[in-house]
């Protein structure tokens, strides 16, 4: 008696559960289909933008785009327009910008990755080596972008996406202390000293790793890039230029500025910014990210070209942000259309500039932005002359040795030329 009732109970339970399970699945499946149809019917409507034909066929499907929070709103507008024009819905997934590269690398092979993701050009080395990105043929649209943006987004002869903004450092000047832009590094120090500020010039350096990124313009002014460039602007890992004559001159210069106290590895980024914001420094070498806090602190900020220490132009590194395409995308056609015709449009580029505050990559939007804001113009003009930060994987072997040696030279821990040559040797060893 007891056992049977229990058995019955169990059976009911199992049946109940499976019914629940089935209804849950059924519900899902049932709901999805009509939803898609509905979308198609709504959106495949009269506006046939891409098609150049009168027929009203419905396209269905969707694109997945990984985007960071700042960019999401702008993309949402573009996505809505895209959906209205093509019937393809765009599914925007918000991700933390810093996570996107590694997530993309691990998710694309599993088939769970997006069709499109936002990113920075210096990720390309890793993304291409892992085979997770596909080239995007911009065709004649290539000429509509700033040269540095296309150069940055090129890798091994291919353009890997649609760039949207250019970011670089420039010289900030406290215009209340100094009223003219310096022509050379020495002139800048002189102007700074005459102004009566505690520090003529500050740049944030790490105690043990200096900062090769911020010091690069001065190194470039001695004619010593990291790698030689191929004809198409891409970097050649075989051609390490760090150790050329200019590199050694730069090493001497570092030691000189270190002993003079102009470059000081005890002043890190935070301290440099604090000093400048307090009005205690006449010049600061930094990026647009530090401008708002300086302006809030009441500093009259002007953005100048970086004064060269050597005879050549002081070109900084440029970082270019953009959107790239997954090599495993099953929606290449829709994704490419979205990238080239929507993300690459002046409206979207300008909208992205408005939320990010960085000079746009599309020349038309770039010019408009430069006319619109003095600070952006200052950085943009420097950025247009900048060199893209190398994205080749070999660059990974350079940073650590480069920074540690710069710090040692600035701190006077040995003969600059010797340390520099040792560094070049170590980097060559590490690249192999």
């Amino acid at each position: 008696m007891r056992t049977t009732s229990e058995g019955l109970f169990r059976l009911t339970a199992v049946l109940g559960i499976s019914a629940l399970a089935l209804s849950a699945c059924g519900g899902n499946g049932g709901e999805e289909a009509p939803e898609l149809d509905g979308e198609g019917a709504e959106n495949g409507g009269p506006e046939e933008n891409g098609g150049d034909n009168g027929e009203q066929l419905e396209a269905s499907g969707d694109l997945t785009v990984w985007v960071d929070a700042d960019r999401a709103d702008v993309l949402a507008d573009a996505a809505e327009e895209f959906e209205a024009d093509t019937g393809i819905s765009v599914n925007l997934v918000q991700q933390d910008f810093g996570e996107i590269r590694d997530q993309f690398v691990s998710q694309v092979p599993t088939g769970e990755g997006p069709d499109i993701a936002v990113g920075a050009h210096d990720w390309l080395g890793v993304l291409v080596t892992n085979g997770v990105v596909a080239p995007v043929e911009l065709g004649d649209a290539v000429d509509d972008f700033e040269d540095v943006a296309i150069e940055a987004w090129s890798y091994d002869g291919q353009v890997y996406g649609v760039p949207y903004s250019i970011e670089n450092i420039a010289l900030l000047r406290n215009a209340d202390l100094v009223d003219e832009a310096p022509e050379t590094f020495d002139e800048m120090i002189e102007l700074g000293e005459d102004s009566g500020a505690d520090y003529p010039f500050v740049v944030g350096l790490h105690a043990q790793a200096a900062d090769p990124y911020h010091l690069y313009p001065f190194q470039m002014s001695y004619g010593a890039p990291v790698f030689g460039q191929n004809e198409d602007g891409s970097y050649d890992p075989e051609d390490l230029q760090l150790g050329n004559e200019g590199g050694l001159e730069f090493a001497d210069w570092l030691a000189e500025q270190g002993s003079a106290g102009v470059l000081n590895t005890n002043i890190d980024g935070d301290l440099a910014q604090e000093t400048f914001n307090d009005g205690a420094a006449a010049f600061q070498l930094t990026g647009p990210w530090n401008v708002p806090s300086a302006q809030e602190a009441g500093i009259n900020v002007e953005v100048d070209f970086i004064p060269p220490a050597g005879d050549l132009e002081a070109q900084p590194f440029a970082g270019v942000q953009g959107f790239f395409l997954s090599s495993q995308s099953e929606n290449t056609l829709a994704a490419t259309t979205f990238l080239v015709d929507y993300v690459g449009s002046p409206e979207v580029q300008t909208a992205l500039y408005e939320v990010g505050g960085r000079a746009p990559a599309l020349t038309e939007a770039f010019d408009a932005a430069l006319a619109d804001d003095e600070i952006v113009a200052g950085f943009g003009e420097v950025g247009a002359e900048a060199v893209p930060m190398p994205s080749i994987p070999e660059m990974g072997a350079v940073w650590d040795f480069w920074g540690a040696t710069q710090a040692a030279i600035i701190n006077g821990d040995g003969d600059p030329a010797q340390l520099w040559e040792q560094m070049v040797e170590d980097i060559e060893g590490a690249i192999e």
Partner: protein, 547 residues
């Protein structure tokens, strides 16, 4: 009916058998009536669980993930079975914990164990098929100075006999309309109508509208139309269905021979079992793919130049760091615990509260703040405490080691203080009183009575603290970054690097990642820490037996 009334009514004077049965029945009714809420709860929760499991399994099976799918089915069934049966109380209590243990511990351990035997990392990220697909995509070069073609995609018209095949129709610079398909080079299109440089209709074909292209986008983007009979002229391809470009491929993949051939140099790249196509000269074609490499990673972990040199030094420092960290924090923690445990101390509560503060701050934040305070020129320590001295706290190899121990002392003593306070309070005061009556001095009483009792309780915590500090990546990374390093030494390892931070530097150089090597290393470190812990635990056991 009459029977029914007899059973429910008060028993007249029938056999005691019936009464017992009645009692049993009442019990069952009782039991079920108390438990119906529980049963309902069970049904709902298990129902949801099973629904999720079935849904997940269906999705997984549809994606051909047979193994994971079956695991989900088996797991779901096992849980349902455990909770639907009477009894099996231990299983009911253990099951949720076991599930989480499996997912978050066992799986992770097994997975990193598996990765340690593969070449998984940058450049070896996926399958061979994906690698071939990616190489072909990435090495497709647009022919220099070739024009942009406005392309139309067509299909044969007519209901019958029409194939599903797609065609490209383009217009040349001289206005001639051409049509071609897969393996059918471009040829003049008969009866083509051209508007604005684009073919709008061709006799015998339908021009596909954009929406239709989107529905068949993979076919469209995969379509390769040769320009002419000569393969060197390249082919047309479109990525967006609007514009086609003329490409040549840098590599040709021969499926039968499983080789990649460079079309310009004729260099042949073969799959030699290294997880990439390799040329005769040993040049690898990236991306490669993931393969099993056996014990290679373990061999590399102890033989690679960049590791072998500093390995002994770093290992010694790791041991010293972990041991000294435990010793200093324990001594300070114990001392403070004893002080604040003394009855004569006033307002102990507030002091104790203050003592715990360092423990309450996030460790990485504290490390960053300390790094600022230890700045040679502007730091609080040099400027205020040492009156403007220029002590290189973080840039001198030995001072940096001291600094890291000081900061770890600051971070770690509250924990030791807490556990020692707890343990001390558990030791009855009479014991030391008795010892004092017997003539022992206060320190003697502490040494021979309280300390051994304390150690029995605390020793396991000291061991786990050792294991924690052995892998204290956060502190090293945030405070010194492993530095300072000797730039003339030629290796990227600094004087405060411990094993785990060295592994990080070796396995993740710049943006390159070598998960295989990192996993092999973490297994080696686990073996070291595990061995030490086992030995130490054995020792503490003998402690306990003494008591």
């Amino acid at each position: 009916m009459p029977e029914h009334t007899t059973t429910s009514g008060p028993p007249p004077r029938e056999a005691s058998k019936l009464t017992r049965r009645q009692r049993q029945a009442a019990k069952i009714i009782d039991a079920t009536s108390i438990g119906w809420k529980l049963i309902l709860f069970k049904i709902v929760v298990l129902g949801l669980l099973c629904a999720t499991a079935v849904y997940a399994a269906l999705v997984l099976f549809m994606n051909e993930r047979w193994f994971v799918g079956s695991l989900v089915v088996v797991g779901g069934a096992a849980l349902t079975w455990i909770y639907l049966q009477r009894g099996a109380l231990p299983a009911k209590y253990l099951a949720p914990g076991l599930v989480f243990l499996l997912i978050f511990q066992i799986f992770v351990v097994l997975y990193s164990g598996y990765v340690a035997f593969t070449n998984y990392g940058t450049g070896h990220n996926s399958t061979k098929d994906h690698a071939i697909h990616a190489i072909m995509l990435q090495t497709q070069d647009r022919v220099p100075d070739s024009p942009t073609y406005q392309v139309s995609v067509l299909e044969e018209s007519g209901e019958l006999l029409a194939s599903e095949e797609l065609y490209f129709a383009v217009v040349t610079a001289d206005g001639e309309a051409l049509i071609g398909a897969d393996e059918e080079p471009l040829e003049p299109a008969e009866g083509a109508v051209v508007e604005d440089g684009r073919v709008t209709s061709v006799d015998g074909y339908n021009v596909l509208p954009f929406a239709e292209l989107l529905n068949r986008q993979q076919e469209v983007t995969d379509l390769v139309v040769p320009i002419s009979e000569d393969p060197n002229d390249g082919y047309l391809r479109t990525q967006d269905g609007q514009r086609a470009y003329q490409y040549t491929s840098r590599y040709v993949y021969d499926e039968a021979a499983d080789t990649m051939t460079n079309t310009e140099t004729g260099e042949v790249y073969r799959d030699t079992g290294e997880g990439a196509f390799v040329s005769e000269a040993g040049e690898q074609l990236m991306p490669g793919w993931q393969i099993n490499v056996g014990f290679d990673n373990f061999i590399r972990a102890v033989t690679e130049d960049s590791i072998r040199g500093p390995l002994i030094y770093v290992t010694l420092w790791t041991f010293a760091f972990a041991f000294l960290s435990v010793a200093t924090t324990f001594i300070l923690g114990l001392f403070l615990a004893m002080v604040f445990n003394d009855q004569r101390m006033k307002s102990r509560k507030y002091y104790r509260l203050v003592m715990i503060l360092p423990y309450a701050f996030p460790g990485f934040l504290s490390a960053l703040v300390w790094a600022g305070m230890m700045n040679q020129e502007f730091g609080f320590i040099n400027n205020v405490l040492f009156g403007g001295a220029s002590i290189p706290w973080l840039t001198d190899p030995w001072l940096a080691k001291l600094s890291i121990l000081i900061v770890n002392l600051w971070l770690g003593f509250p924990y030791m203080f807490l556990v020692c306070t707890g343990a001390l309070q558990a030791i009855p005061e009479e014991l030391s009183e008795a010892a004092q009556v017997d003539g022992a001095k206060a320190f003697q009483a502490f040494r021979s009575i309280k300390l051994p009792l304390l150690l029995t309780a605390i020793a396991p915590l000291l061991i786990s603290s050792f294991a924690f500090n052995f892998n204290n990546f956060n502190l090293v990374y945030m405070l010194t970054g492993g530095g300072p390093r000797d730039v003339s030494a030629g290796v990227n390892v600094g004087s405060t690097d411990i094993l785990i931070s060295m592994v990080y530097k070796v396995a993740f150089v710049g943006s390159q990642a070598d998960y295989g090597l990192a996993s092999a290393f973490s297994i080696l470190i686990f073996i070291i820490v595990g061995t030490i812990s086992v030995i130490a635990f054995r020792k503490t056991k003998s402690f306990e037996e003494l008591n």
